[in-house]
């Protein structure tokens, strides 16, 4: 019970930070705006030369926002390290696991909201330019983006707890997002190809774009959640063992 109370108190403080830290809110807003802009431009191109349909453009718009979810998750933790405020927080709540757990709540919520908003605005932009947005695809993209945004933010948070330095954590997280899994898949044997399809970024992109997945979508979300939570657990264990030095 005490741990739950401590967690609630710490999470309440994290929501205040989320609401009042511009760098965090601007990161989320940038993801949403870029997704909408991408969908708008894609829609206009499709409108002018007919090379793209709403089925092509809608998923791309939503997927563009995902790296911002990862960056957001990194900044929720590493921003505190960068500005030295993590030590102030730890002096008020010395239990490291509570501190990290409290940060997962706004990270999940912020990532989910950003993913959903990016998908919704992308859908709107496609509807305006190309019209005829398929309802089933839009629904898949909408909740898939929300789930992908939430768990990629969590993935970023876990990496930040592991790496701590904000610049290094962003480099690792975004480097992995853009190139890591492609490199991992490069030249893999057929026997492990199925496993490669279940890596976190591949799953997140598939969910956000409404693509066919190797498993049922619910299972895909569960696998992505397991990757993210696993990263957070590893990050928390590493964080708990380290000293908080200036």
């Amino acid at each position: 019970m005490t741990t739950v109370l401590r967690l609630r108190r710490a999470a309440a403080g994290e929501f205040v930070k989320l609401a009042r830290t511009r760098s965090l809110t601007w990161t989320l807003a940038a993801g949403v705006l870029l997704a909408a802009l991408s969908a708008l431009v894609g829609g206009m191109v499709g409108q002018s030369d007919g090379s793209l349909t709403s089925r092509d453009v809608l998923p791309l718009g939503a997927a563009v926002a995902l790296p911002f979810a990862t960056a957001f998750g990194v900044m929720v933790f590493a921003g505190e390290v960068r500005h030295g405020t993590l030590t102030v927080l730890l002096a008020a709540e010395p239990r490291r696991a509570v501190v990290v757990a409290a940060k997962t709540v706004p990270a999940l919520l912020g990532g989910a909201l950003m993913g959903a908003a990016a998908a919704a605005l992308s859908g709107g932009a496609v509807q305006v330019t190309l019209g005829d947005v398929p309802g089933a695809l839009f629904a898949r993209v909408l909740w898939g983006s929300a789930a992908a945004g939430a768990f990629l933010a969590l993935f970023g948070l876990g990496l930040a707890a592991l790496v701590r330095n904000q610049g290094a954590a962003l480099f690792v997280a975004l480097g992995y997002q853009f190139a890591g899994e492609e490199l991992l898949r490069f030249g893999v044997r057929r026997e492990v190809a199925d496993l490669a399809e279940r890596l976190p970024i591949t799953l997140a992109n598939g969910l956000a774009m409404g693509d066919p997945l190797p498993d049922a979508r619910g299972i895909a979300v569960a696998i992505l959640a397991a990757w993210s939570l696993g990263t957070v657990v590893v990050g928390t264990l590493a964080f708990a063992r380290r000293d908080a030095l200036p």
Binding site: R6, R9, E14, T21, T85, T87, A91, A92, P94, A244
Partner: protein
């Protein structure tokens, strides 16, 4: 069974690889006591404070607050308030935002946030972003954050950094009031030795990670009391004192004649001796080492620690040769 001290370092050691930052530190601070933690740069002060706050894990020993590790308290921010070195703040958040984010952990409501901002004189600037604050303003915000939960223990790491003279005086008065009127135990590290001398009830000096002296401030600075006298008959008085077993040393020229310094004799005794021989003096005053002089002697390695602290009965043991036994004795003195 007596109440546990508000703050206790119990044979705490911290090693970073091969380097020992804190070596067997034992120290305790009672409720209502202000203890100044002094030491040269790299002596281990900040590491010691961070171990108390749970930010750094000791390699050996334990740090306790009212007999328990800080993390064992249900709401640690209501027990210990801390001002970290350089008062870190997020540059994009205002003082009010910073405090509002910490308020749930300290069990503080919005009214309490306003109250502490007002208390530290930051109410007018509370909505400005921290990137516009001076270091002194950041220190005030950090103190406000430390006070949010009305803690019974304050840990202040260089709290006077960046404060102007009026701010330093305000800080001293505030800390004194919190300690002496509200019973708050205060452990503060500072490089402003004159302020520590004025504010602290007790002082602990660490050097290269080891406690080299600890005790009430008055005892520490008064351990080498001496009397300086000068005047036309000063030389005659010096001879009389020497004949009584307290030989003075020449100390340059004073007003209207030579000057001498004698140790181990009170000023009133020197005055009586002068009266007895009818000596005319132009100057007679008692002198004590300042905390700065004590500190430099202790940490410079050229002094007699035992004489300064009285801990070893004047045996003249060098500061660096102190043992855990001695540390324990000093700790007992502080606890007492």
């Amino acid at each position: 069974m007596s109440d546990p001290p508000a703050i206790e370092f119990r044979s705490v050691t911290k090693r970073f690889g091969k380097r020992t930052a804190v070596d067997g530190l034992s120290l305790s601070v009672a409720p209502g006591e202000i203890c100044g933690l002094l030491g040269p740069n790299g002596a281990g002060k900040t590491t010691a404070l961070r171990m108390l706050l749970g930010l750094v894990r000791p390699s050996a020993g334990a740090t306790l607050v009212f007999g328990r590790p800080l993390r064992a308290f249900e709401q640690p921010a209501r027990v210990v308030g801390a001002v970290m070195e350089n008062a870190p703040l997020h540059p994009g958040r205002s003082a009010r935002d910073h405090l509002s984010a910490l308020a749930p952990l300290a069990g503080a409501d919005r009214a309490r946030v306003d109250e502490v901002l007002e208390f530290v004189g930051m109410a007018d600037a509370a909505r400005r972003r921290a990137r516009t604050y001076s270091l002194g303003m950041r220190q005030r915000v950090a103190l406000a954050a430390a006070l949010l939960g009305r803690p019974r223990v304050l840990v202040l790491d260089e709290p006077a950094n960046g404060l102007d003279p009026a701010g330093i005086r305000w800080l001293r008065d505030t800390v004194a009031r919190l300690a002496h009127e509200e019973g708050c135990a205060v452990l503060l590290s500072s490089h402003v030795l004159a302020e520590v001398e004025r504010a602290a009830d007790s002082v602990a000096v660490v050097d290269r990670g080891r406690l080299v002296a600890a005790g009430p401030t008055r005892e520490l600075v008064g351990a080498r009391q001496r009397v300086r006298f000068a005047g036309p008959d000063a030389a005659r008085l010096a001879e009389a004192l020497a004949a009584n077993g307290a030989p003075p040393h020449p100390d340059g020229a004073g007003s209207d004649g030579p000057a001498f310094v004698v140790e181990g004799v009170a000023a009133v005794e020197v005055g009586r001796a002068a009266a007895a021989i009818g000596a005319v003096l132009a100057e007679l005053r008692e002198e004590r080492d300042s905390l700065e002089e004590v500190f430099l002697r202790l940490t410079g390695g050229d002094g007699d620690v035992a004489a300064a602290t009285g801990a070893d009965g004047g045996s003249g043991a060098p500061a660096r040769a102190d043992s855990d036994d001695r540390t324990t004795r000093e700790q007992r003195r502080l606890s007492a």
